[in-house]
Amino acid sequence: MSRVLRSELLKLRTTRTALGFAVAGVLLVLLFVLVGVLSGNPRTIVDKRAILSIGDPLAVVLLIFGVVGATAEYRHRTVAAGALIVPSRLRLSIGRMVAYGLVGVAVGGLMLVVAFAIGLPLLADQSGPSLAGSDYVRAIVGSLLACGLGAMLGVGVGVLVANQVAAVTGTLVFLFVADPLIVAASANVGKFFFGSALMAVGGRGNGGHRLAFGPAVAVIIAWTAVVLIVAGWVDSRRDIS
């Protein structure tokens, strides 16, 4: 497995895809923090926590990063080159998933530095109660987990769908259309879908119907595992070129 992991990390380092998504992440974090502080006028603990909880929006970017990375293997037909060396496609997919998860955590860490560097001075000027140490820990751990798990889940979705356009479009439609509709129809059901759970892990939720941090992490891990199992089953039966 370490060979698969190292190969995937080398592949990630040697194209501009990861860099492009990291730049997109920086811009998103800048926008998220600056708009949140400057126009949101955060005074409560909940508002201030939300400013630093960048894992929620960033996890979506990294989920798409995972989808794009996994589907690129089929788009550029590099998946066969790997399978000719390691015939177990499930092993390749798991290695890819772990590699993207690690990169997701690294990107999340970098974005946290950006968010804290900008957000903390701005929040210090705001009135109201100050954030406690546990709030910072929660923002850091939640953001890193959301970023890592989001990227891993994206790889699973990419392996499952294989077609890049369909996978990216489908993921965006699910996150921004289907998931909110499900939550609106039944929040008790919707909170178990990965869009809502990612929000809960990343630091925000949907009002009083979000999962607590621990259960939300468990839900994302469960989604990732289910998607990987289904994707692995589908991929092992798929003819590749």
């Binding site: 060396i85 015939p87 590749i240």
Partner: protein, 309 residues
């Protein structure tokens, strides 16, 4: 190759692959001798790539089996050192350099980066190794694909249409390259839809058409029995005399007969006995290309589909 003690390196038995109701490969069976260079021939859509993909574990057969050294590809203990394969020249990320593409495969295979430099040198791509692969010419892409097949120094090479898109210089380079590889005693299975591309390199040929085996054996045998062209002002009388002698006769133009089943001396004796004048008596073997085209002559019928990309 040292260590190749088995007679057959590749064995395909009763292989069938259906897409919907159409058979891309239809009950195909053949063997590839260890240490031989074998041409896997057939027109476009004959089922060559589908067969190779099944052999390499990239596609699942509907029926039958394809094995390398008596094992399915997925069961090989050390696939990268056993088989090197190139099925798609576009099997690389266009934004990644050739060197990094090979390095990612080397890491996956547990090989040192020095091996990457070796294979880059073998395919004469060192100078362009740091350029993005998407900027490579067709010939450079073929060389990169060949480099990836050689990474593990494998005993068997499977190459799918490696001459596709190459200019005459590239084809000549490929021919020299394959000769050098063959001289090392490796087993090579090379597919092509153009016999002349591989005729000077291969020992054996396997010809398929519409997913079925048409012919297989040493390439020399493919040239078929000797035929004799005969020119005479009394062609009809001569044809009748030759047919009475037990040979097959066909016309080529207005005044030439093509005779198979008798040699030139026997035909001359027959003509002399029948008191028929001869203006030409020329033995010739059909060219490989002629035989190949004859074997795969019904190309106007719908082709069996290759596997979807």
């Amino acid at each position: 190759m040292p260590g190749d003690t088995q007679d057959s390196a590749i064995r395909v038995a009763g292989l069938t692959k259906r897409y919907g109701g159409v058979a891309a490969v239809d009950d195909l069976s053949f063997e590839v001798r260890a240490g031989a260079v074998t041409g896997f021939l057939g027109p476009n859509g004959a089922g060559k790539t589908t067969t190779l993909r099944i052999l390499l574990g990239l596609a699942r057969p509907t029926a039958g089996e394809a094995k390398i050294f008596d094992q399915p590809f997925a069961a090989l203990a050390d696939p990268v050192r056993t088989v090197g394969a190139s099925l798609e020249i576009s099997g690389f990320h266009p934004g990644r350099s050739g060197r990094n593409h090979l390095r990612s495969l080397a890491v996956l295979a547990g090989l040192p980066f020095s091996r990457v430099e070796e294979v880059l040198g073998l395919v004469e791509l060192t100078g362009a190794a740091d350029r993005r692969a998407g900027k490579y010419s067709m010939g450079m892409r073929q060389r990169l694909a060949l480099a990836s097949t050689l990474l593990g120094d494998p005993r068997v090479l499977v190459l799918d249409e490696p001459a596709n898109g190459l200019d005459p210089q590239g084809i000549r380079w490929l021919r020299d390259f394959l000769r050098a590889i063959a001289a090392e005693g490796r087993t090579v299975l090379i597919s092509s839809h153009v016999l002349s591309e591989v005729a000077q390199t291969v020992d054996d040929v396997i010809v398929i058409h519409h997913g079925r085996l048409v012919d297989e054996g040493p390439v020399d045998r493919l040239s078929g029995p000797q035929r004799v062209s005969v020119r005479s002002p009394r062609l009809a009388d001569l044809a009748a005399a030759i047919e009475r002698g037990g040979a097959e006769v066909s016309r080529s133009g207005d005044d030439v007969l093509i005779v198979s089943g008798l040699d030139a001396a026997q035909i001359g004796d027959l003509a002399f006995a029948a008191e028929l004048p001869l203006h030409e008596l020329a033995p010739h073997a059909a060219s490989l290309e002629e035989v190949f085209l004859e074997l795969t002559s019904d190309d106007l019928t719908p082709e069996a589909p290759e596997a979807p990309a």
